[in-house]
């Protein structure tokens, strides 16, 4: 009897999934992804409005709708911050893996002069580092515990890859080793083949990380950026 049912199940119409699979229905996307996506959607809604030549009245309506959407996003973020109130900010160790992840956006272009890229986190512009043997190859943007984290990835001629992440805020960091290079106070964290150098600048937390990259190379780059 059971075999008959299984045969029908296999070859005919839809049946409900096994109960074991229903556990997936309760898995939700993390907040950082939700916020990043809301940002992308808001950007996408603004871009066509700028590019198309719409009648003035329609343009006004769209601008108002965009403003309302932006206010809603800000209110949503604010509400999220309020709901998160009391939870500790993410640590450097929690954010550092982002600097080792894959890029989700193309590399930012170099700005005139070639020293800096057209990407920044608040007042800090990302360096180009081409003169010291690295080139930007990608970027990503995340939100972790309500903190905006921007990352640029670099590759050297030997194919080694590093990520430079800047979080908007002073993230707690514990352990590691304090090192001074060219007057900059840096902290080195390491686990296995992964090296992380972190420092503070302009009220932000900077994180430089790489796998299989000597700590000294990271320290040298960090001393340029700190």
């Amino acid at each position: 009897m059971m075999d008959d049912e299984m045969t029908r199940d296999e070859h005919t119409g839809p049946v409900d999934p096994p109960e074991a699979l229903r556990v997936l229905d309760d898995v939700v996307a993390p907040d950082r992804l939700r916020l990043a996506l809301a940002d992308r959607v808001a950007d996408a809604r603004r871009a066509p409005a700028r590019e198309r030549r719409l009648p003035g009245r329609l343009r006004g309506v769209l601008a108002a709708a965009g403003a309302v959407a932006a206010v809603l996003v800000v209110l949503g973020l604010f509400a999220n911050r309020i709901l998160d109130d009391g939870s500790p900010p993410p640590s450097v160790r929690a954010v550092a893996p982002l600097a080792l992840r894959a890029a989700t956006a193309p590399a930012p272009a170099a700005r005139p002069g070639g020293e800096l890229l057209a990407a920044r986190s608040g007042p800090i512009a990302f360096p180009a580092w081409t003169r010291v043997g690295w080139r930007a190859v990608g970027a990503r943007r995340d939100t972790v515990g309500g903190h905006d984290v921007r990352t640029v990835f670099y590759l050297d001629a030997a194919g080694q890859r590093i990520g430079y992440a800047i979080a908007d805020g002073r993230l707690p960091v514990a352990g590691g080793q304090l090192v001074t290079r060219r007057g900059a106070q840096l902290r080195v964290l390491a686990r296995g083949a992964t090296s992380v150098v972190t420092w503070r600048r302009d009220g932000r937390t900077c994180i430089l990380a790489g796998r299989g990259v000597p700590v000294e190379r990271l320290l040298t780059l960090a001393s340029y950026a700190a």
């Binding site: 299984m6 109960e19 074991a20 309760d26 996408a44 989700t104 956006a105 194919g159």
Partner: protein, 176 residues
Amino acid sequence: MARLDPQALVSHLDRLYRVAWALCGSREEAEDLVQETAARVLAKPRQLYGQDELAYLVRALRNTFLLARRTRARRPHEVATLERVEPPEWRGAGLPEAALEARQLFEAIAVLPDDFRQALVAVDVAGLSYREAAELLDTREATIASRLFRARERVVQTLAPHTGPREANAPARSLR
């Protein structure tokens, strides 16, 4: 011709995230996959061509996944080694064992043979109809039904390796 509302990405985010996780087998790669898909979809206005929004987005996600897989095969795999060990984000409260079960379930789905996994992800994770899944995977509904049956069977067996075959095959049996 109906256009895709960009807001659909936000509306269907949880489902897309689950689909991405089931395809990749890793929550970190799933986040990246959803972001890459969003970037591609939002790059220009998209026509739905009669498709449901969800079906369109699942197709875009799958295409991005296949593209990324081909690209990744040509370069060294990057792993975040300072990984935090976190349970999945969870809608319910106080159910760590259920969160763990979800993680194991995603892992079990990720190791299915490709055809089986794609059918199960399309129907059971994305929530597409058999017809939509057949269109997405360019096959017949009967094939979807057959692959889905076998995929479910394997997942249940993977999660309950010590269960006897007849019991493990029961389609609606809870593992909890």
